[in-house]
Amino acid sequence: MTDQDEKLSFLLDDHAGENANADLDEVMGDVNLQYRARRYRMIGEVMRHELPKAIDTNFHASVMAQIRNQDLQPATRPVVTETGPGNSSILSWIGLKPFAGLAVAASVAIVTVALWQPLKQEPGLGDGGLVSADQQKIQQLAKQQIQGGVVTASTRVQPLGMRWKVEREMPELQQKLNAYLVTHTEYSNSMQSLIPQARVAGFDSQQ
């Protein structure tokens, strides 16, 4: 029974007062005091039935050995899980591929939504006429650069219930839509996480 042991008892109970830091320095610098602290704690664990069925007296040493061997440092940012071994350039491409795939999927979705909008006939336009807002949207999409060239297309679309029919006189628009689907298919075949490509297909509410 020493003064040091008594101070240790107070420290463990958070009753060290003003000398807490100095007492803690002593404990951290003295392995015998650390062992004693462990035994003191064990008394409480046994009384509360918190002791595991099988204790490993070297557990903490194993943990610290791993930390030292791996030269781990406390992180200040969230830890990122490694994706696995491999060429760094391939890894960076694989890392970007899901995002590229998502971008393509989003483009397909925009096109699909744009083409699925219900038709309203503007007065004076007759069959095949489009609501002006939809017309503008499709024109915007049609003018977007794809595969090296700007594809312009007339955007006459004939309504059939809820189904859009791309007339044969608009091959450029057909090409553009097919290009989106083809590109998306390439990605979806290679990435398990992507949903299958959206097929540009509608349904006829009248059927």
């Binding site: 951290m28 509360r48 069925k53 781990l72």
Partner: protein, 191 residues
């Protein structure tokens, strides 16, 4: 039982680069973490591995610990998530129980550790338990009351002083003397 000040100081030291402070935290909470993981995983070797993983994750992430919660609360979450992730990846349940993964941490049944895992450590643990209980029984009443109120009921020194109608200094002394007597019986088993 409030040990938040000691934990806060230890965490601060770890964040400042004192690895030894983390060793103290591991020694303090290793059995609690192992018990927690043991509710998810029955195999003792896997239990130890998962608990070690949890402490290593905690060490790596301790720079992000801001002290908004108690250190053990934060550590508990890491350990529980580590165990759940292990279960999810292995896609298996503790033999003999069909409890849901999310309920496992609240399961107050057996620890799930296999009886035949490690005879020496099982024997040692049994001996430790028996020695401590035997030593407590032999304590004088005032020391026994003080240590019981502290360790079992979790009362502060001030509360114990009120219950036992004695000064706080006397409480401190009684608790220390009780620990010292028990430690004399316990020390030979662990050296």
């Amino acid at each position: 039982m409030g040990t938040s000040l000691l934990d806060a100081e230890l965490v601060k030291r770890v964040q400042a680069g004192e690895t030894g402070a983390f060793d103290i935290l591991v020694q303090k909470y290793q059995h609690k973490v192992i018990n927690l993981v043991g509710r998810f995983v029955s195999d003792p070797a896997e239990c130890q591995d998962i608990a070690q993983d949890a402490f290593i994750k905690a060490y790596r992430a301790i720079g992000n610990f801001r002290g908004d919660s108690q250190f053990y609360t934060w550590l508990y979450r890491i350990a529980a998530n580590t165990a759940k992730n292990y279960l999810a990846s292995r896609a298996r349940k503790s033999p003999g129980y069909t409890i849901d993964v999310d309920d496992a941490e609240h399961f107050e049944g057996e620890s799930g550790l296999k009886e035949f895992a490690n005879p020496e450590s099982l024997l040692l643990t049994d001996e430790i338990r028996a020695t401590i209980f035997s030593a407590i029984e032999k304590l004088p009443d005032d020391l026994k009351s003080a240590i019981t109120l502290r360790e079992l009921d979790g009362l502060s020194y001030e509360e114990i002083a009120e219950v036992m109608d004695c000064p706080i200094g006397t409480v401190r002394s009684r608790i220390f003397r009780a620990r010292d007597v028990i430690d004399k019986e316990l020390r030979p088993l662990l050296e």
